[in-house]
Amino acid sequence: MVKHAKPRAFYDEFFRRGPGEKNTTYCPGCGHGNAHKLIAEAITELGIQDRTVFISPVGCSVFAYYYFDTGNVQAAHGRAPAVATGVARAREDAILISYQGDGDLAGIGMGAIMHAANRGEHMAVFFINNAIYGMTGGQMAPTTLVGQRTLTTPDGRTAGREGFPIGMCEILDKLTAPVFIERVSLGDPGRIIRARRAVKKALTNQVDRKGFSFVEILSPCPINWKMTPVEARKWLIANLEPLFPLGSFRNLEEPPAAYGYRKPVSDQELLEIFAAEKSLNLESRRGLVEDQYVKIAGFGGQGVMSAGVLLANCAIAEENNATWLPSYGPEMRGGTANAGVIVSRDQIGSPVVDHANFLIAMNGPSLDSFEDSVVPGGTILVNTSLIDRKVRRSDVKVLYAPLTEIAAQAGLTAAATVAALTMYAAETGAVSLDTIKKVIPLSIKKKSLIDVNIKAVDLAAEYHANNLRGQI
């Protein structure tokens, strides 16, 4: 080749290698040089130089960015397809090239390539299979032949010890998403012409937004094969090609699946998505007298978590501070769930309710677990629908109420925790019933459930007024 025939997608002078540098870093007879040239020619012919981002791997081609006059990103060992995924998702009109050796792609990077292929990422992958680790001095690659001597298989690769060479085209051909898979060889000029066609097709597919295209290129590494360039090409044809048969594995007209991201919403729309509820016009903001440490405990599905959220929401609506923390820790075992809510006018320190001043016990295990932790002088509300026993402590106030039955009367047993919350509010005045009723519609997604919950509030308030007021 004459020098001025260098394709335009190559730099004229490899300034990143050194001032005035015109030569590559590759050994004489190395396949990387050929492969680079095929790619640079295709980029030039397709007129995609400006849009192309070339991902350099770790391996002998780590400095591919010395040569390609395109956008360049150098990736960690094996990660070029993941890096290309990131670029592709960020720049939808980019043409991505992931260029990788056999250690990079089929060894350390096996997961990355499988999943990029499986997602049908928009990228052309050029896989240089030279059956060896070139850069690090000639160790075994996943594609090393059985019997082939390398620095880490000095007596030759043994299938029983190191496994068999891996055929990447064959493996990727099992996936649905790739549109183009072909194996080519740099063994002689005729083969190189076929390789050129495959390389161009893979890049054309990118121009046409067809998706994941994979070209495996059998490529000589004379240095580590310990051969002359001529011997290396002969050896490649005689030994690699029988194991890694050349040809097209797949060439689809259309990608099996496509995905288009929706247009990004405007700033205004984004702000609206996250906008807070309008003002609730609360009747009263009853003054919170003392900090509230509330524990709501029951079994999963009783709605203790959402009742806690409801209480915290009511507290905020009344312009107090609040924290809600789900049961988190060993106490979650044994089928009980609990939420701790703190309400205060001041900044709240620890959000952990170790010692509640109001315990809502929705079932037996919850009363067993938390009865002792209530502060002296605190209050325990016991759901008598599910708890037979009495509270043992004498230094706390106790309210007994058939919460589940009240909720059932309202039409929804799951509203028992809302009934409980109502009694808590009626008893302590920490939040007003009006607030609870106004916040419920905001926190319940299913509209049909709003009315029954409001009814549960009314029935519970009535029960409290008739039966619990003044109870010790």
């Binding site: 990143r16 130089q49 400006d50 849009r51 192309t52 981002v53 991902i55 780590v62 960015y65 006059d69 956008g71 360049n72 990103v73 150098q74 990736a75 960690a76 990660r79 993941a82 890096v83 290309a84 990131g86 670029v87 998702r89 960020a90 980019a94 043409i95 997961g111 990355a112 499988m114 991201y261 929706r262 990004p264 919403v265 729309e269 984004l270 702000l271 998505i273 996250f274 807070a276 509820e277 003002s279 959220v309 915290a312 905020i316 609506a317 501070n321 609040a322 924290t323 809600w324 923390l325 988190y328 820790g329 900044q347 709240i348 320190g349 620890s350 959000p351 952990v352 170790d354 010692h355």
Partner: protein
């Protein structure tokens, strides 16, 4: 009702989107999964991009790619996942790419358990991967700060071309609290170093290799200068009751909340306790610790780990006063009472 009740892990996602984040690449792990869930809903739902990666190693490399292309990109994970990302974070540092990583810490080592710990401090604050690099580390202690810090993180990351970590824990991730969301949407500017796949940026190269020892040495020294600048410009902390304090608590995340309560309890008992809470762990408020060391009798560092931040406090005060370590591990969270009672003994003595 301008304030909304929002879970810490979700506040991260709201803050991120309002802060101009366009890409999220992640892999599920408790107790950070809710970040991924919310990101899947809101990133894809608003025409941004959420993608579940095959693992954390590839997630961080997708981040590397998107950051190379100038996007505001992030992930959320926890200890085991953050450890897997270490190589990628080192590459980000070497290539000077901006990115945001949220670490909702769980208990280790190994698979440990899913309850809260703060034992990723050394890994995250000191770097985590190979090479002479630092991350900027923000330590939120409320749902509000989960939102605010993430909102700001992208601009900080871009300003210094560094990874910004939000180092939080399972408690601050799980807590629901009133949050006031930012009212302005931010966007990434065009960077002169990024690879946009267009003519203007065609000459750009993102890489962390410098083969010559001279050049890599120069690059390393340049990074160290940058970290010094970060230390001079970015350090943030908050103090409570330190004016006349004789004893100082220090803690971050959930432990800072507990210490805040402990300070009030001790003050009620007539003990002059205060709290210095670093909001940035790198840069660390060294100078302020040194100043307070002249005023207080001792510092109590409360952490849910084996005393990882305490070392930085010791270094800051140059052993001029005792630095006491209160440590909990394995997912145990101290109660306010435990901290208060122990401090009461130590602070009288």
């Amino acid at each position: 009702m301008d304030r909304q009740l929002i879970k810490g892990n979700e506040a991260v996602v709201f803050g991120a989107l309002l802060g101009g984040a366009t890409h999220f690449f992640g892999y599920p792990i408790t107790p950070a999964s809710e970040i991924a869930h919310a990101a899947a809903q809101y990133f894809n739902g608003t025409g941004r991009c959420f993608l579940q990666a095959e693992d954390e190693v590839n997630a961080i490399n997708m981040i590397y790619g998107a950051a190379s292309a100038g996007a505001r990109v992030m992930t959320g994970s926890s200890g085991p996942g953050i450890a897997l990302m270490a190589e990628g974070v080192s590459y980000l540092a070497g290539a000077e790419l901006p990115a945001v990583i949220v670490d909702v810490q769980r208990a280790g080592p190994g698979l440990g358990n899913i309850w809260a710990e703060q034992s990723d401090y050394n890994m995250v604050v000191k770097g985590g991967g190979h090479g002479n690099y630092r991350n900027i580390v923000l330590a939120p202690f409320s749902a509000q700060e989960m939102c605010d810090f993430t909102y700001r993180a992208f601009e900080i990351a871009e300003k210094y071309r560094m990874t910004v970590f939000i180092l939080t824990d399972a408690y601050i991730g799980q807590i629901m609290e009133p949050v006031l969301l930012p009212r302005e949407v931010r966007h990434a500017p065009r960077h002169d170093w990024a690879v946009y796949a267009d003519r203007e940026s065609r000459g750009n190269l993102v890489t962390s290799i410098l083969m010559s020892t001279e050049l890599l040495s120069e690059h390393n020294w340049k990074l160290q200068e940058k970290y010094k600048k970060v230390e001079a410009e970015l350090v943030e902390w908050e103090e409570y009751e330190t004016g006349d304090a004789e004893y100082l608590f220090s803690a971050f995340g959930i432990c800072a909340r507990i210490c805040l309560s402990a300070v009030h309890e001790l003050r009620n008992k007539g003990i002059k306790a205060g709290l210095l809470r670093p909001k940035t762990l790198f840069p660390f408020p060294e100078k302020r610790f040194r100043e307070l060391a002249k005023q207080v009798k001792s510092v109590v560092v409360v952490e849910m780990n084996n005393g990882q931040m305490a070392r930085d406090v010791e270094h800051a005060v140059r052993c001029s006063i005792p630095v006491l370590r209160y440590n909990w591990m394995g997912g145990m969270v101290p109660s306010t009472q435990e901290v208060t009672e122990r401090a009461q003994k130590d602070m009288r003595g």
